[in-house]
Symmetry: D2
Subunit: 138 residues, 4 copies
């Protein structure tokens, strides 16, 4: 991707021992990867806060048999089609569906869409996953 830079971090022995045990448990191959993950989590939270372009996913669970619901969900999504990339639909059981809508755009627009879907009757669950387009975060 881009040039790799190396810098030094100083830590007490006690803190490092605890950190090494944590990242071993989580399966990290090395300290650098664990630290990059910690840094990226903070940067992504900030991207959503300050309004940079982001990517994410809205997860919905709803009862598709409720009259009019599927049409209504479709209408709202088309109203926001510019921030929606694609959707994936799973039939959980006879009534319940889980749908994941992958989104990309300005945080406020994506959050507005997630709220509209969540507020609908017979939508059992709706949550917004705040991810990233990955730019400058490799």
């Amino acid at each position: 991707m881009s040039d790799v830079i190396r810098f030094g971090v100083s830590l007490s022995k006690g803190l490092l021992t605890r950190f090494d045990s944590l990242i071993k448990e989580k399966g990290y191959p090395c300290r650098s990867e664990a630290i990059r993950d910690l840094i990226r989590e903070n940067l992504i939270r900030r991207q959503w806060l300050i309004g940079e372009e982001v990517a994410g996913a809205i997860t919905l669970v709803y009862d598709h048999q409720k009259r009019g619901l599927v049409d209504h969900l479709m209408d709202i999504q088309h109203d926001h089609h510019k921030v929606i990339i694609s959707t994936q639909h799973i039939h959980l059981d006879h009534n319940n569906c889980l749908e994941v809508i992958v989104v990309k755009g300005k945080p406020r627009e994506v959050e507005k869409l997630a709220e509209s879907l969540k507020a609908m009757k017979n939508v059992i669950h709706s949550s917004l996953t705040m991810a990233t387009t990955g730019k400058d975060l490799v």
Copy 2:
């Protein structure tokens, strides 16, 4: 779904005024739907805590050009194929992919899978959305 029951909630006028203004802003059709959502959020958090069967989504962002990464991601997913329902893949740009893995199973198994994926080198982002199978939550 099941029988509908109605019960009374008492509130101070000040608190109700603030609540009404909040749910209007969020687009709820009525107080009942807003309160059902608040209740369900708590119940879903508890389902994950006590280990009931849950559904959810793991969102990954990674650089597919990194040697061996795609194979490695595939291997880990196959090791956990029993909790994976399906995946959706988006090409964000020349290098970066966003992938959503829909999962269903015991919370600990799903969390283990999410952690393994997150710890991998060149996985830029991984987060676990804690949703529900919808049973008894309509």
Copy 3:
């Protein structure tokens, strides 16, 4: 406090059964109190978001033996004395102190203070509890 209003909430039997079991476990005396708590949590989150006057607490853990740290912490607090009401200090062990700073004011000012304290060397932990002045939330 103010007049009490009563309104009806409708729920499926399955959802109500689960909710009743959750609030019994948490020790709530009745459904109304549990629902008032859910509503207030949301309203308080929004007060912090939109910038209403709030109250809260900053919890610090630090090593008081580090040269200059106590003076430095004191200086920063005096720079923000308008949002600080009082502090409470506990000697955790020979080196470590836990200090709770009760704050009241605009969210941004309080958050700025919390960040400044957190960023200081030898401050081991700092977190901001988002509470409320209680106005209109009884």
Copy 4:
């Protein structure tokens, strides 16, 4: 405190530039301190999860004029006196009080106390700040 160890972290130039800008904004004196904070946040979360001895603070907001409430709050606190170190009380206005209870002990006991207080009628707000005794985290 204990011996200081230094190790290297490798990062892409793009990621480092973003990180440097974030920590400058937050007021960190150097990268090491920012990274130590990220590490400690994760370790503290884990201490609460696995049940190590922790320290923390319970923040309450309540209306002291409600009949019996102050006595009741006192009773519950005495039932849990082993995990309570001290409290700080602020008179927010004519009716509302903010109280911070500093706690130390096993996470489950502290959480149980926080839940009991939160469930009480006329307690407007209760939240638990998960901090640390500071051991091995300097």
